[in-house]
Symmetry: C2
Subunit: 317 residues, 2 copies
């Protein structure tokens, strides 16, 4: 029972590397800067070197390492090829193949949001549920879907991209993705700030937000909780669209549970309750009691999910 694995969450700024027991116990975790110089050609070498370092320092037996799971911030196909990753400077990159040749370990690669979903499904907020959709509300909105214990990647690696479903029909501004009306435009941290500024211009109601040096999503939620009318209108508006989006997801895949993560989820049960109220309004009736819970693993979720991905794959083979 000395078997172990590594779970790696490769991010645009830092890379998290965790050494896990196969039951999900995190033995140790580390964070190294992601070196994006020269189109990210050093990234995989750095991960390899760091893993070897952990192995030597802990006097681990190579035979006990069942493999390395890696989450990357880009679309990943079912066979572990990263379909471009602008964030890291990568073109199409066969990460599984490259890392396998470097390390001789079994390598499994997944999209970072899908890995976060798998992590929450395994050891986080959704550990007791059989199928989940994770929605991470941060700077953008991402998501991941776990059905039958596995992440759904999608044919183009775009499954779970809940932030870019077309949902705001009267949107006049353009999303980063080039379209208009994406969920991310109103309900991400930056979207919430954008909506708040629009609402403040459109009304002359008093609001504590007007005096703020800088409006943040956190401030909007804090002031809404404190009874500020305009802040509450903003929160009502954005949770209406989150409820609609979850109702869409339910009508398509009907998960047992929704998990809300990302920085904005710090607004806690208050946010969940408002999303749930709107969800119930819009969803097809068989799904009206679907659970909505908060994520629990924070920034470690992706690392956990990556570890789980390689553990599951070693069971298959």
């Amino acid at each position: 029972m000395n078997k172990k694995c590594f779970g790696v969450d490769l991010g645009g700024t830092t890379t998290k590397i965790g050494l896990f027991q196969l039951d999900g116990t995190l033995i140790e975790k580390h964070e190294i800067p992601t070196n994006k110089e020269e189109n990210g050609i050093y990234i995989l070498d750095n991960i390899e070197a760091f893993i070897n370092n952990v192995i030597v320092k802990n006097s681990l037996d190579i035979k006990d390492i069942i493999g390395v799971g890696i989450g990357v911030p880009g679309a990943v196909t079912d066979d572990g090829v990263v379909n471009k990753c602008i964030n890291l400077g990568w073109d199409v990159t066969d990460v599984e193949d490259i890392m396998k040749k470097k390390t001789n370990f079994k390598i499994k690669v997944g999209n970072d949001a899908n890995m976060a979903a798998l992590g929450e499904y395994w050891k986080g907020g959704a550990a007791e549920f059989s199928s989940i959709a994770l929605v991470t509300i941060g700077t953008g909105i991402g998501g991941g879907i776990i059905m039958n214990g596995r992440p759904i990647n999608g044919f183009n690696g775009a499954a779970g991209e809940i932030g870019h479903i077309p949902i705001v029909y009267d949107e006049t501004e353009t999303c980063n993705c080039g379209k208009k009306g994406c969920l991310e435009q109103v309900a991400s941290a930056s979207g919430i700030v954008r909506v708040a500024k629009k609402f403040l211009i459109a009304t002359d109601k008093p609001s504590t937000l007007r005096g703020a040096e800088e409006i943040s999503a956190k401030l909007v939620f804090d002031e809404a909780k404190n009874g500020d009318i305009v802040a509450f209108e903003v929160v009502e508006y954005i949770t209406k669209y989150l409820g609609l989006a979850l109702a869409n997801v339910a009508g398509i895949i009907d998960p047992e549970c929704f998990v809300i993560g990302g920085g904005v989820s710090a607004a806690g049960q208050y946010l969940v309750d408002l999303i749930a109220a709107n969800y119930k309004k819009y969803v097809f009736h068989p799904c009206k009691d679907t659970k909505i819970v908060l994520a629990r693993l924070g920034n470690d979720a992706g690392m956990y999910g990556a570890a789980k991905l390689v553990i599951d794959s070693s069971k298959d083979s």
Copy 2:
């Protein structure tokens, strides 16, 4: 290589029973009326008797029958329990268990729309694709999703219920399901007729639809193809919402292919092209080239899918 199976598509009016070779060759098919008397207590007995009849008439060896797959018009959980079926008069019914005890064959049960999707995936319009979403546009709108070769049932058996995703925000009338704004309210056969009548009242433009004895979805498409302006506006309106719905599905599960079936799909490539044009407008860019094809198996799709379900399950065990 004498192995065979039965695929049964249990409908509200008739039940289709097909005898299949395991490679998908349909040996013979039959249709019997569905006897819904006394809350449908005779339905499963009738299917059993008919199957036995086919076995005897063909002098089949019982040992060569690997099982019976059954599609039912209701929500089905992963373990084959039908979660009520108002259409048949059934309360919660463990069809797998009941039929197994009656017949001694391996029994697998699925939702009829999911079975149609599995049929089209196996031997129909989507036979060359790895993952699909089927949308059946008939009296209502149904759907089924196949990922990794298997139907997604959903926790409440409601996955693929694309007809009831909330999509028309300014809808004033109520859907059969009790909500307002479901896709089915505008884009099903009856929805198309409803929209056409509303459009005719709202405009004084001339239209051949005004003289029609009865407006049908077929007539609307025929007249739109013939250049009738109001009919074309109706078609534009409903294909906009179909495009939006498919864009939603793509952002959530990113299938390789969409399959359009049901009676309204008789409008053919004309319908597909209009849906595709709208889909491209609204979808997240990595999914913009997702194929949209017509279903090919017509009313036999569910029978094929039910056969495939039991074939796959016999491979697992």
